[in-house]
Symmetry: C2
Subunit: 490 residues, 2 copies
């Protein structure tokens, strides 16, 4: 087979882009920064959505839908929020086009100018808290536990498929509570849901921590994050959960009567995960042959490829393939029997390798004679010839084994790429030559953090289960009580 992908070692960014395009996940559109998510990519997103949605509902949340547009003035209400979000955005100024009488085509109708511009939502705290205002009078109306599945737009100058696009798909949870404690618990509960989803479902191990003041969400008191490590040694923020305090309740005047009969502002959280996670999924596991998908998120878990020369050989092969397919389907496993006669087996092998299908079965005339089947694992590329009899039970267990094995491999990679550094020189050495997470002492000041940022790395998070340890800040030498996680990041 001709090599379809640039290798990771040669050019990681090119490898990633090739892979997204050639495996049929997504492509760029005619609109700058906006992507087309193709059926295979969208099928992965659907799997992720279904699982996350199930987890949100299991923790008491309901879905709802709020407007795409937000009045410009709403952004100015929360002082920090406006700085973070209202700048690079899509602005709707008019509501009508008209025929250009002189030159043909269409022009914006100057008569149809909006009194107040509308912003295509970059995130929905403002419009949602403006709505909650009418829903909350008393503590009996709380908590409100709502999630929204939606598209959002942030005008990015430099975009990359899935990782950074002007429009992306996400979910945003927005909850309202009567006490600070309850809101803090909610923010922690949801970052744990994200971590669980990422590790158990996507096979991506994550660190859970809080962001520094300069890295937190614009409008939050605290931002909790999960941080994953990609195979090129860069970190990726994979989901965030914010404790918003009473900031948005104050901005939109959302007060309630508490159990003591006193008026108070409502406590808030918000939390989100996006199609960016598909980028993380790709970069965490895939290799130079293509995608490696953990079975739980794979749209096709098993593919069956028939191998035959004469057309007379096909009926028996097809019968065996369909029997195995039916048995696997009955076990809830998604199977594709690729019986197209327009492509050769070798082409199909390369295609499903590229698409990351976890298990491939090949059945030829000799297998029919012997009652066997050839099984290939995508993750390890191991092949075995096995009896057809009982293959379904074997595959069911194998899929669990592959899921676990992919996770363990990523976990080992992270362990091998996490470095304790005690001096500035060690940090720079790790960033420039090794990559991965650097664990270092930091004095907690903005000055030292800014100095770290000059290396193009950032403090990814302060681990929530980080150990206490006395040490000295690698920048200032001042005392520090625990290490923080530093890395270059996507």
């Amino acid at each position: 087979m001709a090599k379809v992908l640039t290798s990771k070692e040669e050019n990681y960014a090119q490898w990633y882009n090739d892979l997204v395009l050639k495996s049929g996940l997504a492509e760029n559109s005619a609109v700058r920064g906006c992507m087309v998510i193709k059926p295979y990519g969208y099928a992965i997103w659907e799997k992720m959505k279904d699982e996350l949605d199930r987890m949100f509902k299991a923790t008491g949340h309901e879905n709802a839908y709020f407007p795409l547009f937000i009045p410009k003035s709403f952004f100015s209400r929360e002082a920090d929020h406006v700085e973070g979000f209202a700048k690079e955005c899509a602005v709707v100024t008019h509501y009508r086009l008209k025929t250009d009488e002189e030159n043909g085509g269409l022009i914006v109708d100057p008569e149809a100018k909006l009194e107040e511009e509308l912003i295509v939502r970059p995130t929905s705290e403002t419009i949602i808290w403006n709505t909650y205002k009418n829903w909350v009078q008393s503590y009996r109306d709380l908590p409100i536990l709502i999630n929204q599945w939606a598209n959002v737009v942030r005008w990015e100058m430099r975009t990359r498929l899935f990782l950074r696009t002007a429009e992306f798909l996400w979910q945003e949870g927005h909850t309202a509570h009567s006490t600070r404690e309850e809101a803090e618990e909610e923010a922690m509960r949801m970052v744990n849901v994200y971590a669980d989803f990422s590790e158990r479902f996507l096979g991506i191990p994550v660190l859970i921590g809080t962001k520094t003041e300069s890295e937190k969400f614009a409008g939050a008191i605290d931002t909790l994050t999960i941080e994953a490590l990609m195979q090129d040694g860069k970190a990726l923020q994979a989901g965030t959960s914010h404790f918003l305090g009473q900031n948005f309740a104050r901005a939109f005047d959302v007060q309630f009567t508490n159990k003591e009969g006193k008026l108070d502002y409502v406590w808030a959280t918000s939390w989100g995960m996006t199609t960016r996670m598909i980028g993380a999924l790709i970069m965490a596991h895939s290799d130079n042959h293509g995608l490696v998908l953990p079975p739980r998120v794979a749209p096709i878990q098993v593919v069956i490829v028939p191998i035959y020369k004469g057309a007379e050989e096909f009926p028996l092969i097809s019968e065996a393939a369909n029997r195995i397919k039916d048995h696997l389907t009955a076990l809830g496993i998604s199977v594709k029997f690729d019986d197209r006669d327009t492509h050769k087996p070798g082409w199909k092998f390369a295609e499903y390798e590229l698409k990351g299908v976890p298990v491939r079965l090949a059945i030829g005339p000799r297998d029919i004679e012997n009652g066997t089947v050839e099984l290939a694992r995508r993750d390890t590329q191991e092949k075995r010839v096995l009896p057809q009899e009982g293959i379904e039970g074997y595959i069911r267990e194998l899929l669990d084994e592959i899921q676990e094995s992919i996770y363990q491999k990523a976990l080992q990679f992270r362990a091998g790429n996490t470095h304790r550094v005690d001096t500035w020189e060690e940090l720079v050495d790790v960033l420039d030559h090794k990559g991965g997470f650097a664990l270092a002492h930091w004095d907690g000041t903005k000055e030292s953090e800014d100095r770290i940022k000059e290396t193009k790395a950032t403090i990814r998070c302060l681990l929530i289960d980080g150990e206490e340890e006395e040490g000295k800040c690698i920048v200032s030498g001042k005392p520090s009580h625990r290490r923080v996680v530093i890395a270059r990041a996507y």
Copy 2:
């Protein structure tokens, strides 16, 4: 109980609006014409989505996602399409805001003007066909059978919750085929999927027909429609499926090599159903007490209300309620046990009546003594006392009976409100005094159709299974070979 709703007879439009607001389905937002779909309304949409998505996949379709924004110039490519769609729309002209140094707040940054304006999609034929162009070379690349779940925006001046909103949610199928016949079959297949969904799932009987030239989709050769009848005698277009011919393929230059090795333009269909169907669902079945939801689309199918005076009575009631709940849940029935002590049973009865929960169970101390439960049907408001023993099996069958009964009632209503009219006077009499569908002969000319439109009614469709019958056009007296369906409509 105080009356919560304006009655249908008193003011139908007000009844509808009251019902949407008070049953907690949706409300207006701070953005003109955009609604907030509240959790209960969104739960209905999720049920509809899940069922439609299952039906689309069962007919071979996959989901994908295309950009929210469409370059302005794309609309001018297809001559009819531009007339129908590019006029009343949300236009993005800038991509940045900046702080207003003089007055505070935010202003649009004049430096950040887009070279070409972007339109928030009112429908996606143009951006999708511009994408398909790169996907199709040969007949082997066809068919493409793709659906998209998305939000769209059409700038409406007069809006009504669900029925007509500036932003709404929908699905849009966009398929590409190598032959005219195959595309026509697809368009017919999908209008039948819509009809089946509407009748079997929502309990709304529909007529299937084609639109006239003046009523068809801008850019289509033929538009197939399903038309439902609301309780006020007005029609509602509930879903459309378009045979687009080669119009969009020509506009975006999408050619393929056919089996004979010749270049040809690709054949297309598109089809859509929207959150408007929630409006149809409400208006088809509900009454002056509130929503009446067919069991298959009801977020809560059974509610259990405990009735007790002393707290000591509660444990046994709760035990019985939870036992029934568990049994029903095991049968796949969604049950809510409302054990809140903050609201009285009478309040809860009215609340679930308003929310249209198909079956209500009440359990009091006497029921505990007698091993009984009181069951109330929402649609007929009948009540019966039944033994707890075996209640699950009874309810399972009852839910099917209610589903069928709601459909039959709507079918009878339509039969009683469908009128054969043979003269202009009869048509006007039906429209002004009876409402419903009028079946009349029409000569097929635009002139006669325009005259009909002066009554504020429209030709809803030409039935696909309409009988041949010789007659005279009610406008011109000219010969006609079959009747068309005329009604005032939403």
